[in-house]
Subunit: 132 residues, 2 copies
């Protein structure tokens, strides 16, 4: 069973290329960090700060494209970890079909926080076992 | 009439946050630069160098999402310049409908070069007058 989690902390530093986001179990205590890039961290941070850029940034464009094509992002999920790399999917519904689209966790969480309320963030139980 | 142009030069520097892409008229001599951000410049540069990242970067995700939803990006266009800011659209067909989706020129060109051959890049004649 995938576990519902939330973005609990984001560490953004100009001094390094590697930033970190922490996911924490909703109604639980499990938590783990995922290292992400600076651009993706900034994209997430702007949303957390409710900054509205003058022009659509790339994740806002992605959201706008999905909406224009009649799609709805239902949730995001961290599905597995292989060789220190986390894999994720965007679950996008169009009509009766839900597409699970392969992505990096940073893009998944950036998308999640572009919605209000944020999209549900799930993490596969197996991933939590491996990082636990 | 929009003018068909191509990406003729990309200037990427680690020393500054502002990078530049130059668009040149196909079969003509008109050319102009647009300043873009570092992340977007890197996204374009990776495509020009035919680097294949291990995991989908954000523009590849955007391309994959559009394809999964049954959309086809037909072209990109720089539509206007207002107060030193260029505006662009992605033209995405789904069925019989073409959606013109508002975006920054850097995302438009990054998307264009994610296809092989690259998507057509158009610039509104009015924009060329203003930068000429």
């Amino acid at each position: 069973m995938p576990v519902l989690m939330e973005l609990s902390r984001l560490v953004v530093s100009d001094l390094t290329d590697q930033q970190a986001m922490y996911l924490r179990e909703v109604g639980g205590t499990r938590m783990f960090p995922i290292l992400i890039g600076q651009f993706e961290a900034q994209a997430i941070n702007r949303q957390l700060l409710e900054e509205e850029p003058f022009r659509p940034m790339t994740h806002a464009l992605l959201k706008n494209v999905i909406t224009a094509l009649g799609g709805v992002v239902e949730e995001v999920m961290i599905t597995e970890m292989k060789e220190h790399t986390y894999f994720a999917v965007l679950k996008v519904r169009i009509g009766d079909t839900v597409h699970g689209i392969d992505c990096r966790p940073s893009d998944a969480i950036a998308m999640a926080v572009h919605y209000s309320p944020a999209l549900p963030i799930y993490v596969a139980e197996q991933v939590l076992h491996e990082v636990g």
